[in-house]
Point group: none
Chain length 215, copies 4
């Protein structure tokens, strides 16, 4: 006989794309959204382009028709966050509401964005070390800017007597922002409270304090 030994075929990586195979039209937006979810779950460094492509039901190579490289996806995520967050805050600051009201609105806005649970927010606060070059600096600047707007509200309140003096506005600002940021770590849309309710509780605590009024 001495026939040639047949090699058994095996399904290797090739056909493993059992993902969702949505087969929606591939767009930059779809890539960024999908990537944000995966980055939030597993981290930027541990998410491969293969992972993203699989969820989208395409092959890795296809992504490159829509994006330049992996970091660009991350850049787009950062931009998507800032683009939604900056403008409304600016309008609140520039409005002529009383300071206490401004602070409430600002907190509400920030929470709405954070609670949007958009995994993008999670990525935003976690993956900045993976940004490089001038873009990294740009993002840092715009983030600082955002913080300054909050700070201004506090400062203005203290100056006008709307808020108590005694604390450094910058520190207060960091406290309030930290409070809001953290929401992306625990908020669930299916939970008991709406973002607006949470904003009300936070504002209540921050403005009136936890202790009962003494008089």
């Amino acid at each position: 006989m001495s026939q040639p030994i047949e090699i058994a075929q095996t399904e290797s990586k090739k056909r493993e794309k059992t993902g969702k195979a949505k087969r929606i039209r591939l767009t930059q937006k779809a890539i960024v959204t999908t990537a944000a979810t995966l980055f939030a779950e597993k981290g930027f460094g541990s998410t491969s382009l293969d992972d993203i492509a699989e969820v989208l039901g395409v092959t890795k190579g296809a992504l490159y028709y829509h994006i330049k490289n992996k970091e660009e996806i991350l850049r787009l995520i950062y931009l998507s966050v800032l683009n939604v967050a900056e403008e409304p805050l600016r309008r609140i600051v520039e409005s002529d509401l009383p300071c206490a009201e401004k602070l409430h609105k600002a907190i509400e806005h920030h929470i709405e964005v954070s609670a949007d649970k958009s995994p993008a927010i999670t990525v935003f606060y976690r993956e900045h070390p993976h940004l490089t070059g001038p873009f990294a600096r740009e993002i840092a600047l715009r983030q600082k800017d955002y913080e300054h707007h909050f700070e201004h509200i506090i400062e203005e309140g203290i100056t006008t007597g709307a808020f108590k003096a005694g604390s450094d506005p910058k520190i207060i600002m960091f406290g309030i922002l930290g409070m809001c940021h953290w929401i992306s770590q625990w908020y669930q849309p299916s939970g008991r409270y709406t973002p607006q309710q949470i904003a009300a509780m936070f504002t209540g605590m921050v403005e009136n304090g936890l202790l009962p009024s003494e008089c």
Copy 2:
């Protein structure tokens, strides 16, 4: 094209790896400390063992005499944080200070740990997706436990009338913890305030509110 023949610069390459070349005795502790700094700067996934080894002035292989693998370094960082944070908080909760005082102490403790700016904290809040297996679950549990302790203080305060009713203690807890967590992102030991001072401002805001007393 006939491009010019390049002269090999054998020497120059060697000198490239002169990093810090501390040449301290290599220990597990030294590895973990150095790694924490690098992880905080560049992220876990983007820090190679080569990076760590270079800073320590040894070769990659040497690290493996002291640690089992890269994830173990991360695990040790997480443990180092929890081991410092848990016990003091437990003591505060179990003490018989008045609630307002307990809250102050708890905030102070948390800020002290966070402000320690120990890059370990930055890593702690950022790299958990890189933990795997049962350890990941253990850490998540211990973190939940820590949060529960804070929650209990608020709850107790509301029950005893020390704190105003009206807000969900869990939400308040998330707010306060978020406020404190964030410190590791902006605090600098060389800055204007000590952790204790910051704790005082935060406690002031949280307990008395920003608005001036009305009476």
Copy 3:
């Protein structure tokens, strides 16, 4: 010392990796065949994926498009052997030839496979310690099964009086199989005898003995 500056021989290094550089289309089958040859020559543990890739004229990384990992190559080699060997033996056992004839056919079959000198056989008898997990057990079972078929032939022969009683069928089976296995170590297709001739000599010895008939 002032040793002479070495001129970089950029070109020469590239040419070093010209191995065979077949540049046939890379397939799983090609990888497995090439690997079998190398494993047989140098052993599984001492053959690197670089070695295999070089012979195939591709880079290491390319292999991973077709196989999952190194062990999968080994698994495919084992399957390729068993897939050729099992079925024909089963048919012989289940046929209604007289026992002596069955034994002859079985020996002939086994020798044909072994003599195929396909390096796969050499690997098969040597590298099983490198198989892991359930697959290792599966292979061991299928090998045992194969042996049982041989044993049955002997047993049946003794029961029906076709073979002398007195020896343990299992021991006889081991003897005959060992005899055949070994062929892969010395057989050369270019040698004096065909597998069929060798099978005839072996069967002659095993059935009639070396001693001249006494009557």
Copy 4:
């Protein structure tokens, strides 16, 4: 507080030597014996010097006081096999026993050595690709020599009429040797038969055949 974060110590590789920790005096012989067992189980390439040292209850470095390198261990295993096998066979061949008796003794001898279960035998037939240099050639030669001695017995038998003519002595030799070699794969000292009994069955089959005498 701001106390330094303590790094939790972990038991890494260091103290893991839970092996047998025999603590017998370390000798070259002990190393070779232990190594043979491990090589037989896991293969030469997959057994590290650490593995060997652990079983012996010493550290890797200690081995180097007794052996030059890993390959030397393998060389010593090969020598230990040949040194036991060669001399007795030579004596049998040179004796003036009748041929049939010589063959019986030779088979018995070979089986005794193989069955000695000495894992060394398993290593002997499996790891030769890891021998290098002149030693590899020396071993190959001595193995050939050993085979020639067997061949001579057959040849002599045919010439003197003690054995039937018709088969090539070399092929017969390969058959008988393969039969015996294989024993190291299945023989267990605790099994039903002694090496001598197995030798008797093999000799019976080989000299008288399985078929019943016709007269």
